[in-house]
């Protein structure tokens, strides 16, 4: 049996964390509270996918995504924006791989994740 895929999620909302936790129970999920922690954990753990809310303290989701996509250490990790802010253009501008406006159904979220995880990785996860 293969290892569970790791998803790093930058999300502060307690209830959204609960819901996402339920939806993603087939994955290993790590939640962090702010943008700086997303970058730190992304470098450290090299997750299979990062899910970002735009509204994060210290560094917002857009800043985090731009950083991750510019860094050779993390630029191969797919980033999915799952956010309250309806600014798809800006998300793609900073390098996002997919965008979903909250809230979405379980099926829609899982479909998007499946697509992203199915993509060929540009680098390898080193753990």
């Amino acid at each position: 049996m293969g290892r569970k895929r790791l998803i790093l999620i930058g999300e502060r909302d307690y209830f959204m964390r609960q819901t996402l936790g339920q939806i993603l129970n087939d994955f290993e999920v790590i939640f962090v509270d702010d943008g700086a922690q997303v970058i730190e954990k992304a470098k450290e753990l090299k997750p299979d996918l990062i899910i970002l809310e735009m509204l994060l303290p210290i560094l917002d989701g857009f800043q985090v995504c731009r950083y991750l996509k510019n860094s050779p250490e993390t630029n191969f990790i797919p980033v999915l924006f799952y956010t309250l802010i309806n600014d798809k253009d800006r998300a793609y501008e900073v390098g996002a791989d997919a965008f979903l406006l909250k809230p979405q159904s379980k099926e829609k979220i899982l479909n998007e994740i499946k697509k992203l995880l199915g993509q060929e990785r540009k680098g390898d996860r080193t753990s």
Partner: protein, 479 residues
């Protein structure tokens, strides 16, 4: 722009300002039996699919078996949706336990389990009543609202509250939409009303709207309102012929202005109906379809009257030149009538309309003079907007009196033209007389004429009456 969900209930989306905001939390309040459960189950049955599930959670207010049995009597109930698109769950047993948190935990569990697109909790008031403390309710509602905000779910909370109670509830403070239903007795019957009290981030049609429940569920009749500004109205100088000999030559040279409303006020039996009917049928025969709204004559009587004057009612109706709308003055509700009239006007693209008589509409406003006045004013504006030429009859009851009240509050001011008809005594016999009291922005004859009506010749204008009567003076307009 907030996405909207169509409810599928006739006219509900219109009064909500375009539908329910998607993923909103909706509070439906109203006294027991006012139609709350029907309203929400109808929406859920209309909208739920296997991909967009509906979850109906019953509590201690309505046992599950009774709810399902009752819902089956409506045409919107679809057995195939049960267990596929719509799921019923009962949390009644959890309410009987002393731990007040349990029902809320169970609701959260069910919401996470089903992840529904539509949720109904029927009712939250029952949870209130059985809860050991209000703080548990507040906490439970806050948690539920927070969880729902993470899901693409439109949720309905039902509460058995009266009009003066609902706004004091915790539910009212956390929801995005508030809908209130009431039923109150009027005469021997009752009137059901729906009020939209709040739609977050959106305009809606405030005030009371009548609704009915039948085997198809709810049907709403929005309060008739004046358009904010006329869309196409501009004074038309074109004229419409009334078609009664003398009217288009002597009374209103060239006819009456199109898009205007003419009030025919007069004694009972003096010829108001015959006049309005000729105006409408003459138009219909010349290619101007018309709608005749009557509270006086049922369809059989109307057919007989038309036949006497040489009109073929059946043929005109079959050709969609005429629609006859008969309503009992005892049963009519003005907002419901408005929908019927609008549908009839649109169906045959009516150019003419008659309401016979406006005095019967007063009972349709359920004794509320403001509602009556607002309706008449808005309705006349609606006709103007569509350049529909209208005649409205009004009965004056003070037979042979010297001082008369022309109409109820302000109606004579709303009409563009006023024709007054009276009985008069000439040389030992009772005859008919008429005069045009006013014609807005148009020339008209100010003489008093004899008005002749016979089956053979139909109605026609007679000679001016020269004898000095005080029949039409003074005439009081009551505002």
């Amino acid at each position: 722009m907030i996405e909207r969900i169509k409810t599928g209930i006739p006219n509900l989306d219109y009064i909500l300002g375009g539908g329910l905001p998607a993923h909103s939390l909706v509070f439906v309040s109203g006294s027991p039996g006012s139609g709350k459960t029907v309203l929400v189950t109808q929406i859920i049955f209309n909208q739920a699919t296997a991909e967009r599930k509906g979850l109906i959670i019953t509590t201690a207010s309505e046992p599950l078996s009774r709810l399902i049995r009752y819902t089956q009597t409506f045409s919107f109930f679809d057995l195939n949706k049960i267990g596929q698109a719509i799921f019923y769950e009962d949390i009644g047993p959890y309410l009987l336990e002393p731990d007040g948190e349990k029902p809320w935990k169970k609701i959260e569990e069910l919401v996470q389990q089903y992840q529904p697109s539509f949720l109904l909790i029927d009712s939250v008031k029952a949870i209130h009543d059985l809860s050991p403390s209000p703080s548990i309710i507040r906490r439970g509602l806050f948690r539920l609202a927070s969880i729902l905000s993470t899901l693409p779910c439109t949720a309905f909370l039902i509460g058995e509250y009266k009009l003066d109670e609902y706004w004091q509830t915790i539910e009212a403070s956390i929801v995005d939409v508030i809908i209130h239903l009431e039923e109150y007795p009027v005469g021997l019957g009752s009137r059901r009303i729906i009020k939209i009290k709040k739609v977050r981030g959106s305009n809606f049609l405030a005030g009371e709207h009548t609704f009915k429940i039948d085997s198809d569920g709810l049907r709403i009749f929005p309060r008739f309102i004046t358009p904010p500004k006329p869309t196409i109205y501009q004074p038309l100088m074109e004229r419409a012929n009334i078609g009664i000999p003398g009217f288009d030559t002597l009374l209103f040279p060239g006819g009456i202005l199109r898009g205007t409303t003419t009030l025919i006020a007069g004694d009972p039996g003096v010829g108001k109906t015959v006049t309005a009917l000729h105006f409408l049928l003459n138009g219909a025969q010349k290619g101007e379809p018309g709608v005749y709204v009557t509270f006086q004559e049922d369809p059989n009587q109307m057919a007989l009257i038309c036949h006497r004057f040489g009109f073929d009612l059946e043929k005109l109706t079959a050709q969609e030149k005429l629609i006859l709308l008969y309503n009992s003055p005892v049963e009519v509700d003005i907002d419901e009538l408005a929908i019927d009239i609008i549908e009839a006007v649109q169906k045959i693209k009516a150019k003419r309309l008659v309401i016979d008589s406006i005095s019967d509409l007063i009972s349709g406003a359920r004794g509320d003079p403001d509602r009556f006045y607002n309706f008449v004013y808005s309705f006349v504006q609606w006709l103007k907007d569509r350049s529909i030429t209208a005649m409205i009859t009004n009965e004056m009851s003070q037979l042979f009196a010297n001082e008369l009240t022309l109409t109820g509050r302000g109606v004579s001011h709303i009409a563009d033209n006023i024709i007054m008809m009276r009985y008069t005594e000439i040389e030992g016999e009772i005859r008919r007389a008429l005069v045009v009291l006013s014609a807005r922005a148009s020339d008209h004859n100010k003489k008093i004429f004899e008005y002749l009506i016979s089956e053979k010749e139909g109605p026609r204008l007679g000679q001016p009456l020269k004898a000095a009567f005080t029949l039409f003076q003074p005439t009081t307009r009551v505002d």
